[in-house]
Amino acid sequence: MAGRIKIRAQKKGELTEVKALMRHPMETGMRKDQAGESIPAHFITEVAVLHGDQTVMQAHWGAAVSANPFLGVRFQGGQSGDAVRVVWTDNQGGTGEGETTIR
């Protein structure tokens, strides 16, 4: 079910605040499962926040970002109704995407 992103975007004065929750296990590759087998590393490596087609923030993540990652950012401008999008790719080639409009 990986891939979903829940986003809230709202005006804060002349800033727009974006809060995103992503559905991802963020496995470090250092854990073992019940049977003692090691669980392969599986974590988001790149994530970006876009306002319309402008990339507001791009990040590189390691496996130390918590499972079901949370990301909060703020940027200047943005009117209610504008599209805000978050996208990610992980080390196994998986992708995630979510979109909302600024309230």
């Binding site: 829940k6 986003i7 970002v65 996208v87």
Partner: protein
């Protein structure tokens, strides 16, 4: 959090996925260059190694406002916030978060586009009690703040 109607949930939309992914890969060629992933920094297994790989040993700066809990209910999810007082520390283009006691201290690197506030909230794993570092880059210089977070054992069988 309910941006989709609560009723029947549609499958994840893939409509403009290509465009979004495209945006991720080829950032608009403004002053802000596409920054490749700092692999050596992420692979570093000691704090000073990671800092070296990021550039140089950062100097403390009170303009870096780093908020972390003094004591974490659980080391798997530690909420942190990094902000910058732009009046004393302008032109910040990058924020890195490091967790000293983790096997790989570098947790995340955030590239801040011009016009974007230096305001990052996320949650990181902290292996054991120790120092967390927020390192910011401004005009090629590295500045930092650090705070200790206690990670406690919980549960009866802990």
């Amino acid at each position: 959090m309910k941006d989709t109607a609560k009723g029947r949930v549609s499958r994840r939309r893939l409509l403009n996925w290509a465009a979004a992914l495209g945006a991720l890969m080829t950032l608009p060629a403004r002053a802000w260059a596409t920054v490749s992933r700092p692999e050596t920094a992420f692979d570093a297994t000691a704090l000073d190694q990671a800092l070296m790989a990021l550039g140089q040993t950062p100097t403390r700066h009170e303009g870096v406002i780093f908020t972390t809990p003094d004591i974490a209910e659980n080391g798997a999810v530690v909420p942190i916030r990094v902000e910058v007082d732009q009046t004393v520390l302008p032109n910040v283009s990058k924020v890195s978060v490091l967790v000293e006691m983790n096997p790989n201290p570098l947790a995340a690197v955030f590239d801040i586009a011009p016009g974007t506030e230096v305001y990052i909230e996320t949650r990181v794993k902290v292996a054991q009690t120790g120092n967390l570092y927020a390192v910011v880059e401004s005009d090629g210089q590295l500045f930092m703040a650090s705070r200790e977070t206690k990670v406690t054992l919980g549960g009866c069988g802990g």
